[in-house]
């Protein structure tokens, strides 16, 4: 495949999927995002993310240490914003409190192990996974492993410049941007819900 035409789509892509960056996928500029390796305006990405999460069978957030621990100013606000977003889209969370490889075994229903391909997304039952508050190098590693071995659709809500190996990546994500994403999700959710029909005027009660 020619460089620049690479689509970052759900796997399984095999034991060693190529890094999207090595296939010509470049990180987005400010105000932009990547959807499956293509640059789009950030607002468009909000809608796609909300749509993906709201239509998912089992949407799961993978919060990392940067928001799980109240370690600096701003971390708690961001954590609260993530919780609101999770509630808005009806997602659950599997935490990554740290990145230590867990021996001799891990309970993958309780905690994600980003170092271990078979234990990252257990049984491939998670169809949409969101990475947030994960340090860059571990997010890169885990996102690539997930694409290699599962068909999970991954979304990175990145505090820095984004991740090419996620199917959707937003950059510079702070509490404000998470609030905006929650608004979009709520609006989309309301639009998708069946309207409660008011009884016709004059109808008997």
């Amino acid at each position: 495949m020619a460089v620049g035409e690479y689509w970052v789509r759900p796997g399984p892509e095999g034991y060693l999927p190529p890094a999207a960056a090595s296939m010509g996928v470049e990180l987005p500029q400010r105000g932009e995002a990547l959807v499956e390796g293509r640059v789009v305006p950030e607002e468009d990405a909000f809608r796609v993310i909300a749509e993906k999460l709201l239509t998912a069978r089992n949407p799961v957030f993978f919060p990392g240490p940067k928001i799980l621990w109240a370690w600096k100013d701003g971390a708690v606000e961001k954590a609260r914003a993530v919780l609101k977003l999770m509630e808005a889209v009806g997602a659950r969370a599997i935490p990554m409190p740290d990145y230590r490889p867990k021996y001799p075994m891990i309970n993958p229903a309780v905690e994600i192990n980003p170092n271990h391909p078979n234990l990252t997304i257990w049984h491939n039952r998670i169809d949409v996974g969101v990475f947030v508050g994960v340090h860059c190098h571990y997010a890169n590693l885990a996102l690539k492993i997930i694409r290699g071995g599962t068909d999970c659709y991954t979304i990175a809500l990145c505090g820095e410049v984004g991740h090419e190996d996620a199917m959707i990546t937003l950059r510079d994500v702070d509490a404000g941007k998470l609030e905006r994403l929650t608004e979009v999700a709520r609006a989309l959710s309301a639009a998708r819900s069946p309207q409660v029909q008011a009884p016709a005027a004059g109808a008997a009660g």
Binding site: A79, A93, P95, P97, R100, E111
Partner: protein
Amino acid sequence: MSKGLFKISPGFEDVMPAEYKELVTNGPYGRDLGISDLGTFKELIEEHPLCAGCAEALALRLILASLPNPEDTVIVGSTGCSSLLFPQVAVQNIHSLFGNQNAVATGLKRALRLRFPDKVKDVAVIAGDGATVDIGLDMVMQSWFRRELITTIMLDNEVYANTGGQESGMSPQGAVLNMAPLGKKFPKVNLPEIAREAGCAYVATISPALPRRLGKVVRRAILVAREIGPSYVQIFCPCPTNFKWPSAQVLQKIRDRQKEGIFKVREYVSPEAEAYLARLEVVKQHDEEQ
């Protein structure tokens, strides 16, 4: 470092694994704990993967309980049985490549001194005999020659244990091991003596069969490495699996070896380190009287 680092963000308490919640409420951070408090706080994350009866595991628990400043301590480990245990410890830790541990610890200590000039940050290497006396001896000794302010703790299980039982520099002469069936031809390396000659300000040998003394030794080694110079502690914890001892008899075997004079408890304190430790003792007594 503030203990606030170990607070869970509000709202995420429910999804956090139970062991982390317990660590926050019952960990060693910000508390003055010691060997006698073992069992009353959480120094390891749940079960460890080492063999039943492993004296290394006991030694590591005792080390962790003896750290004077666990929240501001970084442990640097290396390949070996002990590295299987590090993911479970409740202290910041780095896993280095086999034998690189003292070089990594050197860089880390220097970086921490630049980044946090007003704080005490302890760096302790905890590695097995293969990493310390065989593969990593060059870097271990070079760090001592340079007087790096780090503590080196060797868990001396006298064998390359997790690779099946090759002889190490610390295997005793004549030891018959799975992959040394004819018996080792050379004597055990005298690393404590080398450490002293190489410039360590504090050197000690100890075993987990003497828990309180082990705690004191580790504490002293770390305190000396803060101000005076490098320190070295060798903890005798032979491997029950490779020496084919029943798990329950390991500590007795260690005591027997001590009685036979094969393993000796030793301590060397340089005059500068001795004066420094005495000063700390005076300060501690003064604080207790206040």
